[in-house]
Amino acid sequence: MADKTAVKNILVVDDEIDIRWSLKEFLVGKEINAQVDTAASGEEALEKIAKARIDLVITDIKMPGMSGLDLLVAIKNRFPYISVIVMTAFPSSEFKREALLKGGMHFVEKPFDIKVLREKVMAALQDSEQFRGMLTGISLGDVIQIKCMSGVTAALRVTEGKRQGIIFFQSGEVIHALCDELDGEAAFYEIISFAHGHLDTVNIAELPERTIFQPYTAMLMEGALRQDEKGGARRKRDKPVAAARIASETGIDQLNFGQATTMGKVAPRPLTMAELLEAFKGVPGYRAAAIIKSGGEFVAQDAINGNIDLILVGATLHDFFCNARVATGSIGLESCHEAVIGTGGGMMIMGHSGGGGETDNMVLAVFGADGNQALGRREMRKVVGRLKTATA
């Protein structure tokens, strides 16, 4: 672990001699126990970094030869433990995005107040005072949960091969994410779909604009569902490839995996009715769920508690829903598609897939007193949507 009393080494990289001189003279104060060295170019900076232990690089972005962004990439590739502050007169969001994705987490706008720069230097130096090492066998979801539960304000950089994503936390909430061309929730889901990779946490002095407002628990759940869907589709896609290999090796060419194929493309297998109900299991307070056809026939059911007479309850509520559809239609509000029954000990949520005939199904989910209505309704909408697709 780093010795907090040790003198830190800061390298200032700028082609302007005035900036190099002023930072060398005035950057270090009583709050910062450091030595400042300077370099006039990115190339010179890399030479110095290779020869001496540097804790922090403060670099201009626009320099002849190697730019500040190129230097940032080189440092992150070869010396990932070094924190970097990027100085720029062009603090556009596009630039920041590019710099963030290249590993920069600290920025200062030129012209800057020396006090502001000192604050950023202190925040950046904290990065090098954290535990460093390797932790394996832990999922990205676990790390995100730990970050949120500990109420941190930081950024988590996730690298998978050449791809990189960043998740920003503020006081334990996920507020923003970046990945490739994606921002916000879309970027978050992309990052958590990474199969493996490296993680590192960076303290940040300046937070980006908030783009994510959902609780992290709901997003992790949604991410897991998306992963399951992707995995299911991938497993099914893999089978014909395996079938082709077996066919070529064995001479058997009639292997049938029940896959619909069109012009060489394999349609993903639709989820079974029972699999559709699995989505409710992630909602707190879940007790039971069922899919009931328009005629009242149960096509799938699941209950974590054997005491629930789902057939009786389902039949009553199926009747309820059919009558509700007629009643709401009769007063000009169209047929109802969802109903929520609140009770002293929990709630029941019903959804309707509509469409008539085989596609006409009711979904029922039962939750206990600790049930979360918002999450339950959200899952209901998803399940009904998938049910429509599966039965269409």
Partner: protein, 143 residues
């Protein structure tokens, strides 16, 4: 709307809701965005008071149906072991119907129905009005 509305179906002792209280309740609801209709019914479905700003919604006709729906919801919640049902919300593409129960063990056991329509429907405010009304009625009945 005026007078006194009897709630005698629930017990031998006569309980009443004052007409003035009902007026206040309905005028409060009318201020809510998306309000279309409302009604107060005994738990057996007899209409005590009703109001509608939409000519398509006649609670004299559909009030009993909604009350029956609530009874079914109540029956299902007891069967599933979730205790008594206190509220049912029925969502449609064009609106929402809220049915609230004062509680089977309350001083007066009655049902409230509110119909909201359109995207501007303010469900939270309706629920707030229902809470207020129930509190006022229970206070009156307790006196």
């Amino acid at each position: 709307m005026g007078g006194v509305f009897s709630m005698t179906e629930q017990s031998a002792k006569k309980k009443t809701i004052k007409g003035e209280t009902l007026k206040k309740f309905i005028s409060g609801l009318r201020k809510v965005s998306g309000y279309k209709a409302s009604g107060v019914l005994t738990f057996k479905g007899r209409i005590l008071a009703r109001d509608s700003v939409d000519p398509k919604i006649d609670l004299d006709t559909v009030g009993a149906t909604f009350n029956d729906l609530f009874q079914k919801a109540h029956e299902a919640s007891e069967n599933v072991g979730l205790e008594a049902c206190y509220e049912t919300a029925i969502n449609t593409p064009k609106g929402i119907i809220i049915i609230r129960c004062s509680g089977p063990d309350a001083l007066a056991h009655f049902h409230l129905i509110v119909v909201l329509g359109g995207e501007e429907a303010n469900l939270s405010l309706v629920k707030h009005e229902l809470d207020k009304f129930l509190a006022v009625v229970m206070t009156e009945l307790a006196q």
